[in-house]
């Protein structure tokens, strides 16, 4: 019992540098440690231009969300094109890490579907969507400042519009002389 308490207090008050068990558990710490291996913003934009992705938009993430710095939105013309965008980014990451002992690839999510693929390369997250998915999820409206506020304002205006109720009664309208 005393040993457990002693170990806990040591973990609590010891310096973060003296805790090697932390390294490797978190994907973020591993990514930050080898940031130069993964893709940066310029390389991602170059790749997206090469594969002819439509409507590429770079959105800086607000400061309160510390899990990423930039979000890149790109539209593919078809399912095949969206998958091709993801494959091109992975290929670029492999080319950049040629000769490294332990290759570190960006995590890819949604490659089976092909409607919305997310490539997580550390501090830059790339969203490759087809046209319908981009219109449906409306990520620009969510992440641009004031986008959600505008949506709420529209909903409020719709709620305040006076709608005349239909007259569903079977009786004929009575004329009051």
């Amino acid at each position: 019992m005393l040993g457990v308490i002693r170990a806990r207090t040591w973990l609590r008050y010891s310096e973060p540098l003296l805790q090697p068990w932390k390294v490797g558990f978190s994907s973020l710490s591993a990514i930050d440690g080898r940031k130069h291996h993964l893709l940066n913003l310029q390389e991602i934009e170059t790749v997206l231009t090469d594969v002819k992705a439509d409507d590429v938009k770079v959105i800086p993430v607000p400061k309160h969300c510390d899990w990423a710095d930039f979000m890149v939105l790109a539209t593919g013309r078809s399912t095949w094109h969206v998958k091709n965008i993801a494959q091109a980014l992975i290929y670029k990451a492999k080319q950049k890490q040629r000769g490294v002992e332990r290759m570190m690839l960006p995590s890819v999510e949604g490659q089976a579907g092909g409607k919305w693929i997310v490539i997580d390369s550390g501090k830059v997250i790339v969203h490759a969507l087809d046209e319908k998915a981009r219109a449906y999820y409306n990520l620009e409206g969510l992440w641009t400042p004031g986008g959600i506020q505008n949506e709420h304002d529209e909903d409020l205006q719709k709620a305040l519009v006076k709608v005349r109720r239909k007259n569903n009664s079977k009786k004929p309208a009575q004329k009051n002389a």
């Binding site: 609590r12 932390k22 973020l28 999510e109 949604g110 409607k115 997580d120 969510l142």
Partner: protein
């Protein structure tokens, strides 16, 4: 076990406070009630298993779902795991209807989960975001706080749609 503990407490109370004064039994009952409340009325923080009712925190149209299968682990699902659920309550004009069997990702769980820095994260409620078989979210927005552990579980789409990341 609970009944045994309560009966033992009451016996000890009678033997100790039996002949002291008129106010002492009242004092003991309040203490006894407080201990029982603290012990037995607290929510049990366990795994999400079959017949667990969860809150839906996206705009897919469902309000409450009931877990019918946890897709990982023997005991049940935890934070970030995928479950199969049946819709129990739904909005009339939503994308999913009552009785439909759906997939869901647990984004908030009452059971604590350890983080790599030694701290633990736990929430007041159990909440899910409905997804399809490919993992695409059915709704377009996620309400409330969402932990960043979902990034390690490869649910970056849910993190993207969420408003607040804990």
């Amino acid at each position: 076990m609970a009944a045994i503990f309560a009966s033992r407490c009451s016996r000890v109370g009678r033997s100790l406070f039996g002949g002291l004064s008129n106010s002492s039994p009242g004092l003991f009952t309040t203490l006894h009630e407080m201990t029982c409340k603290n012990m037995f009325s607290q929510q049990q923080r366990t795994f999400i298993q079959m017949r667990t009712v969860l809150k839906v925190v996206d705009n897919s149209g469902a309000k409450k779902v009931m877990c019918i299968q946890a897709l990982k682990g023997k005991k049940g699902a935890r934070l970030g795991d995928t479950i199969i659920a049946s819709v129990k309550e739904a909005h009339p004009n939503g994308k999913v209807k009552k009785g439909k069997v759906v997939y869901g990702v647990v984004v908030r769980a009452a059971m604590q989960k350890g983080r790599c820095d030694g701290s633990e994260v736990k929430f007041d409620d159990n909440a899910v975001v409905l997804v399809d078989k490919q993992g695409q979210p059915i709704g377009t927005r996620v309400f409330g706080p969402v932990p960043h552990e979902l990034r390690q579980k490869k649910h970056v789409k849910i993190l993207t749609l969420a408003g607040h990341i804990a």
